[in-house]
């Protein structure tokens, strides 16, 4: 992989929200985050996509000054995480991977506690709490204990809480892990709404490809504490070569036909597998017509869009959704004591 060079010193560039330089965290022999460097722009939704144990939470924990780095440094909104921890904390909001609500407090009380700890001025406190509850559609449940909420409601309340002090940077650690698909889409719509409404940088970690693809402006694929690829979702998929197209031809393809197909600039490769023509094509939906014109009659057409999973596979030789990810979901479901 090409190494990225950084010309500017951290903190200089004002349009940068986060600048990470050679950040490292070791736990004994294990290096959870390994000399990682990264710039994140203001207003960006940035995704850290990687399997369980890749070091995503550790990276966020250092940026949120919950953990001191073993070496290296980073700035958040211009504040150095080692030298100015309090300034960093003031400008960030965080939604943790595990449950972080007080189950015995009501939704409103949870928000009140946060507002007091973050010094949200008394005059605007109640109004902001009301707005935050409104945003995540929990107004009618404001006086119910958080312990009685479903997983999705809890997550929504946590997001609302993280916004009370109007952070410049919002960290979301696996915001939809363990939630059912419908609730997950619900949360996604809040995140999108936020990104539009506020001038906020959002950094989210996930091991769901779909989530990163759908929400993020840019994605870093992270594996064993290192960034293995960094690009826009489309850019990453393009590196894969493109979409996979399978055409079940009525009759066998002639060599001349194959040669003509290969000449298209958008066709990356062509092969034949038991009567089917398998192509890797850039932006298949757009170019399908031209292909069909040459091939003639087909009995079936399959288009498999390029997925980040394949990109990840290509860069690391491993699937992103492995058993340990499933095991983690189990642990999340079966209770607090066993998480991690």
């Amino acid at each position: 992989m090409k190494s990225i060079s950084y010309d500017t010193a951290p903190g200089r560039e004002t349009h940068m929200s986060i600048q990470i330089r050679n950040l490292t965290k070791s736990f004994g022999k294990l290096t959870a985050v390994d000399r990682l460097s990264l710039d994140i722009e203001k207003g960006e939704i940035f995704g850290l996509l990687g399997p369980n144990g890749a070091g995503k939470t550790t990276l966020l924990s250092m940026l949120a000054v919950l953990m001191t780095p073993t070496s290296g440094t980073a700035t958040v909104d211009g504040n150095d995480i080692v030298k100015a921890p309090l300034a960093v904390r003031k400008c960030i909001g965080m939604v943790f991977q595990g449950g972080s609500l007080d189950n015995l407090l009501t939704a409103r009380e949870n928000l009140q506690l946060h507002a007091k700890l973050y010094g949200v001025p008394m005059e605007v406190r109640e109004q902001r709490i009301a707005e935050a509850l409104e945003l995540v559609e929990l107004t009618s449940r404001a006086n119910d204990r958080a312990g009685n909420f479903s997983g999705g409601m809890k997550r929504r309340l946590e997001i609302a809480r993280a916004l009370l002090h109007r952070p410049a940077v919002l960290f979301l650690d696996e915001p939809t892990v363990g939630l059912d698909p419908q609730t997950r889409e619900h949360i996604w719509s809040y995140i999108k709404k936020l990104a539009r409404a506020e001038e906020m940088t959002i950094i989210l970690t996930t091991h769901y490809m779909e989530e990163a693809d759908l929400l993020c402006d840019r994605i870093a694929l992270i594996d064993r504490g290192k960034i293995v690829a960094l690009d826009t979702p489309d850019g990453l998929k393009r590196r894969m070569g493109g979409d996979r197209v399978k055409l079940g031809c009525a009759k066998a393809c002639s060599a001349a036909m194959l040669a003509r197909i290969k000449k298209f600039p958008f066709v990356k490769s062509v092969s034949q597998e038991d009567g089917q023509l398998v192509l890797v094509v850039n932006n298949a939906p757009k170019h399908l017509q031209k292909l069909l014109k040459i091939v003639g009659d087909v009995e079936e057409v399959h288009v498999l869009p390029a997925s980040l999973n394949e990109v990840f596979l290509q860069y690391t030789g491993r699937e992103i959704r492995d058993e340990s990810a499933e095991a983690d979901m189990q642990a999340m479901v079966s209770g607090p004591g066993r998480h991690r």
Binding site: S61, L66, D102, L104, L105, K116, R340
Partner: protein, 251 residues
């Protein structure tokens, strides 16, 4: 000031959570009552100590025991908060770490005060212990002076531990020894010399003495020495606990 507001916010949180955790609240009052009635009345039927019936004699000691166990478990409870991300949510706030620590200590002391009040009410109503407003207040002050040190000690241990598995070790090697060598259950004058040394270096002995003196006017060390030792114990562990909170890395 926002730091003061932070302390008050954490304090408020601790007290509200305590009042809603019915099981914890009930068991922490019932346990000392069992000691008083089963142990005190059972053994006490045949014994009198220092001119007092045995149940009255151990009453201040059980009150101090309740402070010790309640505040230390309360402190070690942060191990659970650490397992969930509840503690992170408080510690990530733009407040110095002493804010969360002080709020927790205040919360622990408030819980101890509530329980000590309940116990003293039971003592006055059902055990014939004479309690005046003044003796109530001085016994409460003594209990809290000791509680400051033991709550800080519990928080200190909680900040250092990574899993609740070691709770029973702390019970065996810290809590029971502190309790059993504090003179809570017997007068220390009759102990062999080497055991007396253990009592004299045990800060809880001074807490028991202060509470017993306040309620029964029976002193071993006297109020000044008691208060002095307890203040030193409290200050030392408050500082150690605060430093442990500052060093705590949350993964």
């Amino acid at each position: 000031m926002s730091s003061l507001e932070g302390v008050l916010a954490v304090w408020w949180r601790e007290v509200v959570v305590y009042t809603r955790e019915k099981e914890r609240a009930i068991s922490s009052v019932v346990t000392p009552l069992i000691w008083l009635f089963a142990f005190g009345a059972g053994l006490g039927a045949s014994i009198s100590v220092a001119g007092l019936n045995y149940q009255s004699f151990i009453f201040p000691g059980i009150l101090a025991m309740n402070v010790l166990f309640t505040s230390m478990f309360y402190g070690m409870y942060v191990v659970w908060d650490k397992k969930l991300d509840v503690l992170k949510e408080i510690l990530i706030a733009p407040q110095p770490r002493w804010v969360a620590f002080s709020g927790k200590v205040l919360g622990g002391l408030t819980i101890c005060a509530i329980q000590a009040t309940i116990l003293m009410a039971v003592g006055a109503l059902f055990m014939g212990i004479e309690i005046t407003p003044l003796s109530y207040l001085s016994a409460l002050a003594g209990a809290l002076l000791f509680g400051m040190g033991s709550a800080s000690l519990g928080l200190f241990i909680g900040a250092k531990l990574n899993s609740p598995d070691s709770f029973s070790l702390v019970m065996s090697f810290v809590m029971w020894p502190l309790f059993l060598t504090s003179g809570a259950l017997y007068p220390i004058e009759h102990l062999p010399a080497y055991l007396q040394v253990l009592v004299h270096v045990n800060p809880m002995a001074y807490g028991v003495d202060l509470v017993r003196g306040a309620l029964l006017n029976a002193w071993t060390y006297g109020p000044l020495l008691d208060a002095g030792v307890l203040l030193a114990f409290g200050a030392l562990f408050f500082w150690l606990g605060k430093s442990a909170f500052e060093k705590m890395n949350l993964g």
